[in-house]
């Protein structure tokens, strides 16, 4: 409603006092609701939260993520998913239920440095998150360009019901796979389209909080 329902905050800033429900990225001190990260505070009927402008990816069940294989044991691969927790991909997920630790060699399927599109199966902070690539749209990424953006900007990149990213894909003929963890793979047969798509992604990341972003992006995509 009014502009004072949204404010820039840093950690420790008192957003408001009173009988509000504390939501994401805030904490309670007595009856004061305090921001815990740098971002934009929002007061609504549902509660008080801060939309972060910083911070790393915290795994959530059923999130699509792009990961990088960093090592393996005899039973699973360890996958860097750009978070403080390492993703675990069990060998059985790839080899099937008949997987045998003696017979099947993990590196024959996935090796150090390989990129994968995966889904978080489950996560609670007491254990490393379990991931899977057993789905049609998941698996090893064979080609494309990998870009990293701040995970807090991913929702803006996707847009309402995917509108923003579809705009970019249609204008550039690129195929863009967005991981919730801020890792993105862009594939395009045309090198100009590829460069434009990457430029658009960087622009959205940098100006995520600006008002007329959609128009600016469309303008850039249409220009030569």
């Amino acid at each position: 409603m009014q502009d004072d329902k949204k404010r820039y905050v840093i950690p420790g800033d008192v957003i408001t006092t009173g009988p509000y429900r504390p939501d994401q990225n805030v904490t309670l001190d007595g009856n004061r609701i305090i921001a815990t990260v740098i971002g934009i505070s929002e007061i609504s009927d549902d509660g008080v939260r801060v939309i972060p402008l910083t911070g790393m990816y915290i795994p959530k069940s059923s999130d699509l993520v792009i990961g990088k294989v960093v090592s393996h044991t005899s039973l699973s691969w360890e996958v860097d998913i750009n978070s403080c927790y390492v993703g675990i991909l069990p060998a059985a997920d790839v080899f099937g239920r008949d997987f045998s630790a003696h017979a099947d060699e993990l590196t024959s399927k996935l090796d150090k440095g390989d990129l994968i599109a995966a889904r978080i199966v489950n996560f609670d902070r007491t254990r490393d998150p379990l991931i899977t690539i057993a789905d049609r749209e998941l698996g090893k990424i064979e080609s494309g360009t990998l870009i990293k953006i701040s995970p807090s900007k991913v929702p803006r990149l996707i847009g309402k019901r995917g509108s923003m990213i579809q705009t970019v894909e249609m204008a550039t003929h690129a195929v863009i796979t967005i991981g919730q963890n801020g890792l993105i793979v862009v594939s395009c047969d045309d090198s100009n389209g590829l460069l434009k798509a990457i430029k658009a992604i960087r622009m959205i990341e940098e100006e995520a909080h600006m008002a007329n972003l959609t128009d600016k992006v469309k303008e850039m995509l249409e220009s030569r």
Binding site: I10, T36, I38, V86, M210
Partner: protein, 245 residues
């Protein structure tokens, strides 16, 4: 330390200190957030002639594993002085002084961090003093707190730090190097401004009970000034148009 003969006037009859400041005036302070490419969060501070850089990594995996805590993330802190940071070249190996300062800085920052949200991880804070000038541990905390916010670590509050001291029988704000050596007391204070809690407190020197109270109040006043500069550093980096209308 030092040993040069000098006719240093610590406080003249007009209440002006040896470097031209008034008794409640801090040295010049500048903080810049986000100065490093690799670190998750970083900040650079100039506090008087102190030049200090802080870098934060984390939360991240703990190695060796036996240090990790299943209930909460842990904090590690390293305060280190470059060999060229002081008048007589310093051996690069950590001295006992640096080890103690690393510990008190860690304990000054810890209450502000919500590490219980990240069990089995570590947040590493690395502070490097490129040039030292008295009050470096306070300046280090000021930079480290900004670097932690820059890294997106959830925090209950910022931590700001500033020292007060006793020079020529007078309580003054922000003791510089000469005042530290020739003065009567030096009290660094670390403070969380919104929660109103002191998280760093040390003393070198002798104070009466009244002086002790006045010194803490003076230092906290200095902390609040530094807090505005920390805010500005983060606002400049993250918010366009310098923040809220």
């Amino acid at each position: 330390m030092g040993g040069r003969e000098s006719t240093l006037v610590l406080l003249d009859k007009n209440g002006i200190r040896c470097d031209g400041r008034k008794i409640d005036e801090p040295r010049k302070i500048m903080i810049k957030a986000g100065v490093l490419k690799n670190a998750d969060g970083s900040a650079y501070i100039e506090f008087g002639d102190n030049k200090i850089i802080a870098g934060v990594f984390g939360p991240r995996d703990v190695h060796p594993k036996h240090l990790s805590n299943t209930d909460t993330g842990i904090l590690r802190c390293r305060y280190h002085m470059s060999p060229f940071s002081v008048t007589e070249r310093k051996n690069p190996a950590p001295s006992r002084r640096e080890i103690e300062i690393s510990k008190v800085i860690k304990e000054a920052l810890l209450p502000s961090l919500m590490l219980e949200k990240f069990p089995r991880t570590v947040v590493d804070v690395f502070i490097e003093v490129l040039q030292a000038d008295g009050g470096s541990r306070c300046a280090a905390i000021d930079a480290a707190s900004v670097a932690l916010a820059d890294a997106g670590i959830p925090m209950r509050d910022m931590v700001c730090a500033c020292a007060a001291g006793k020079v020529a029988d007078t309580i003054v704000l922000d003791v510089n190097n000469e005042e530290d050596q020739a003065g009567q007391a030096d009290m660094p204070v670390g403070y969380m401004p919104n929660l109103n809690k002191v998280t760093l407190l040390q003393l070198d020197g002798v104070l009466t009970r009244d002086e002790y109270k006045k010194c803490i109040d003076t230092a906290i006043g200095g902390c609040k000034l530094v807090y505005q500069i920390q805010k500005k550093a983060l606002t400049d980096k993250f918010f366009e148009n310098g923040g809220n209308q």
